[in-house]
């Protein structure tokens, strides 16, 4: 076991079961209390979010017989942002017989996360990964097949084994539809009540327990209370704090941020993942950034110019004047280095003036050699839909001109703190999927988010949540007309009126863009103390400005998209300040968190395990105030932390 001097907060109980790593999950399931089938109807469970994590959990808990209420802000549960995932989902099936195993997936995930995740959680994730594929195949998810009818796999994002299952370039869509269909079946059977176009705007606590939520009906504006024995938040990630990200426009932090304000700790908020292969920005009007699947790096070669301010077209630049910088710097992994490494390398090239394209704001991802080697037909089969998408967005044809790519905010490893049962420090409040912090440490490996979302939803919560419910057998659900709910409802109504009454000069999007710029420049791919301090101050000032000068028109009693955005941006601003605080506090570089002060002589991330091998769980202290830090010390019994090397 590695020894650290870190004193964890004894109040922060991770509840990791005792015993050997490989036996923890089975042992824990056996020792967790059960709820008898005839009693399950009496338990109300609220699940916010219908992405992979939320839809899978709602369907499964519904199947088990609990009375579930499910919420999403889109017009249909099927449209949760999981639907946009392209590349694939990992599982330790070892169908390719290339040396994969549960232990290797566990090991790769711990290492990929730069030794900032819990071993026990990650091992469980690797264990259930195989069941996920079985479950999805049984639901009819049309995974890619070999000619003989067996499932096909590919290698993805830095893995040296082929463990990624996929459904063309639409893996997320197909997994999401599988979960949505299972959920739809429960809706028809009446075990799940579905609330589309409803947004959660507060968490309600009674005697320190989570007992329900306040929601706004986005069509009628009605604000109502829902009570339950347990609340699950599966509300996705918060990359949109950067304004421009690969997230959908509606992705937000509101549900978990409001829970944070009610006492739930926010863990590792500064761990954000910048994805290396996105289409660079083309103008100020840009509303989002589009991801080009990581799988493209399997055959594409990344290069930049060797001359600053290169203005020739790609085809006119001879090989001798191209810098294949990933191949040069990382000969072993070359174009397949992990995301954080690839992103930083690209940023360095652009910062030094070697960027390509009209705005010099990207690098090339070139298929010329792949087309020569494999032929156009094979390349078309593998990437045809991605090439079409690229051509459609940029007007360039990637078969003849290399793609231009640049890193963009993509995934957030941070999220609400949860224990091994996925319960937050607030009893009765569970958090699943991208919204929790649990499994990816400081960096997530490609194709592992879909795995985690479905692991949490299909297998972990349905085993752990009943243990918490069992303690409440005989306790009636909280009264939704009780004072706790009435006060919370009133606060939400007051907030709506406040937004509509400010009548300032700047639109909500203007504030969102300003926030995004501050975050991207100071708390993005590379961070330093001076920038983070300044950013925090700027954000505090931006918050003041927002609450005195935002302009939200219309009424609270109709569909009002500016009003929806106003609430989300208000929360992003507060989150931004916390991210800067966390990034400033972590005086080391690890995974997606790169502090310029902490790097090796050749520019690689320099961790400090002695002082920072902990989870930073932040406790809210009031708007504009610094949050309080609670540490959960991380112990590595099986994988000894070492410097990640992809050379």
């Amino acid at each position: 076991m590695s020894q650290t001097q870190i004193a964890g907060d004894p109040a922060l109980k991770s509840n990791i079961p005792a015993g050997p790593l490989a036996e923890k999950w089975d042992g824990h399931r056996f020792s967790t209390k059960l709820v008898a089938p005839q009693n399950r109807r009496r338990f109300q469970v609220i699940i916010v979010g219908t992405g992979l994590a939320g839809a899978a959990a709602a369907a499964t808990l519904g199947e088990q017989g609990y009375a579930v209420k499910s919420f999403c802000f889109q017009d249909s549960p099927r449209r949760a942002h999981s639907i946009a995932a392209q590349g694939g989902i990992n599982a330790a099936k070892n169908y390719k017989n290339d040396g994969d195993s549960v232990y290797r997936l566990f090991y790769d995930t711990i290492k990929g996360g730069d030794y900032r995740a819990r071993e026990a959680n990650v091992h469980r994730l690797a264990q259930v990964s195989t069941q996920i594929i079985d479950q999805c195949a049984a639901q009819g998810v049309p995974f890619a097949r070999e000619y003989g009818g067996l499932l096909d796999n590919r290698s993805f994002g830095g893995a040296q084994v082929s463990r990624t299952f996929y459904a063309r370039g639409q893996t997320g869509q197909q997994l999401e539809l599988g979960a949505y269909q299972a959920l739809s079946r429960q809706i028809e059977l009446g075990t799940v009540t579905m609330y589309n176009r409803h947004e959660m705007l507060d968490l309600v606590l009674k005697d320190g327990r989570a007992v329900g939520i306040i929601v706004r009906d986005l069509v009628t504006g009605e604000i109502s209370s829902h009570s339950a024995h347990a609340v699950v938040l599966a509300t996705g990630g918060y990359s949109n704090v950067f304004y421009l990200s690969t997230g959908a426009k509606g992705c937000n932090v509101t549900a978990i941020w409001r829970a944070h304000k009610k006492g739930a700790y926010f863990a590792n908020p500064c761990y954000t993942q910048i994805h290396p292969t996105c289409i660079p920005q083309s103008g100020d009007y840009q509303s989002k950034l589009t991801l080009m699947s990581e799988s493209l790096r399997n055959d594409g070669r990344v290069w930049s110019a060797t001359k600053q301010g290169e203005s020739r077209r790609a085809s006119e630049i001879p090989d001798s004047e191209r810098d294949y910088f990933l191949e040069r710097r990382y000969p072993a992994f070359a174009n397949l280095v992990p995301r954080d490494v690839a992103s930083r390398a690209a940023k360095l090239q652009v910062d030094q003036g070697f960027g390509v394209g009209e705005l010099h704001n990207g690098v090339y991802l070139d298929f010329r050699d792949a087309i020569q080697r494999l032929g156009r037909t094979v390349v078309e089969q593998r990437y045809g839909n991605l090439f079409d998408m690229y051509a459609n967005i940029t007007g360039d044809d990637p078969y003849s001109v290399p793609m231009r790519i640049y890193p963009a905010p993509h995934y957030t490893m941070g999220g609400l703190w949860v224990d091994y049962n996925l319960m937050s420090n607030v009893p009765g409040l569970f958090v699943a999927g991208e919204a929790n912090f649990s499994d990816h440490g400081a960096n997530r490996l490609g194709a592992s988010a879909l795995m985690q979302g479905l692991a949490d939803g299909y297998f972990v919560l349905p085993a752990t949540l009943p243990g918490e419910l069992a303690n409440q057998l005989g306790t009636p659900v909280a009264d939704p007309n009780g004072p706790e709910f009435r006060d919370a409802e009133q606060a939400v109504r007051d907030e709506v009126s406040k937004f509509l009454s400010i009548n300032g000069k700047q639109t909500v999007d203007t504030f969102h863009r300003k926030l995004g710029k501050i975050m991207w420049e100071n708390c993005g791919m590379a961070r330093n103390a001076a920038g983070l301090k300044q950013a925090r101050e700027d954000i505090v000032a931006l918050r003041e400005e927002f609450w005195s000068d935002v302009k939200v028109l219309g009424s609270g009693n109709t569909l009002n998209q500016s009003l929806e955005k106003a609430g989300r941006v208000a929360d992003f601003i507060e989150l931004g300040a916390l991210m800067c605080q966390d990034a400033l506090d972590r005086e080391e570089s690890c995974g997606g968190h790169f502090r310029e002060e902490h790097q090796t002589p050749d520019g690689e991330a320099l961790r400090d395990d002695d002082n920072y091998a902990y989870v930073a769980a932040w406790e809210y202290q009031g708007a504009g105030k610094l949050a309080n830090l609670h540490k959960e010390a991380l112990e590595f019994e099986y994988v000894h932390p070492s410097q990640r090397s992809y050379k």
Binding site: Q74, S76, R78, G140, R168, I187, N196, S562
Partner: protein, 262 residues
Amino acid sequence: MSMNLTLKVWRQAGATAAGDFETYQVPGVNEDMSFLEMLDVVNEQLIGDGREPIAFDHDCREGICGSCGVVINGRPHGPLQGVTTCQLHMRNYRDGDTIVVEPWRAAAFPVIRDLVVDRSAFDRIIQAGGYITAPTGGARDANLTLIPKAVADVAMDAAACIGCGACVAACPNSAANLFTGAKITALNVLPQGQPERWARVAAMVDRMEDQFGSCTNYTECEAVCPAGISVNVIAKMNRDYLKSRFKDRRSLIRQADVADEA
């Protein structure tokens, strides 16, 4: 290249309010903007002028979630084949163009506000039987069921539907046969889909007919589908529906026999 456009947009304050077109002059449109980014720019201007912005559904802006969708110059999702509204880019327009923007028009998709409609009728079709009953936990190893690549490909082609509703909007009868046929095909061709094959098609078609118009083979739906779903799925659905009347009865009788013996 920047253009000046004239936009005629359907504005409707609420479900029961009367709607009408409003005209906006939009200067300085960049050809690299997406159609929705152009609407964002219009909305920022409107708010600046103290007028409420145009409501429209959107989320991923990558052509996959199916949230977006408006009728552009009479055609759902605009002029391009296989492209959603969010993926339509302004380089497809010329300086001086007039663009008319309307919501999906179908009785089953009532307008909520401006360009936003209620498509929950689609969810109800899926709830009727658009799934394979496979409660979590009991699945056997995925490779025990061999699925020929060709079959998996047919399922995937059909499963690519994004549920946007353009097919209904394009159909003179407001029929939902392409949407329903796509889901039925995706599930009914797979080995895992066989046990519920006949019950599925019967329930889904009945639910569809309760809510939508009848298909008379205009095939306008296929022409506007951004996911490239072929009208073959409708033929497949119709064949299975016909057979279900016979198969379903037979399987019901079998179930009754088993129940008697038990």
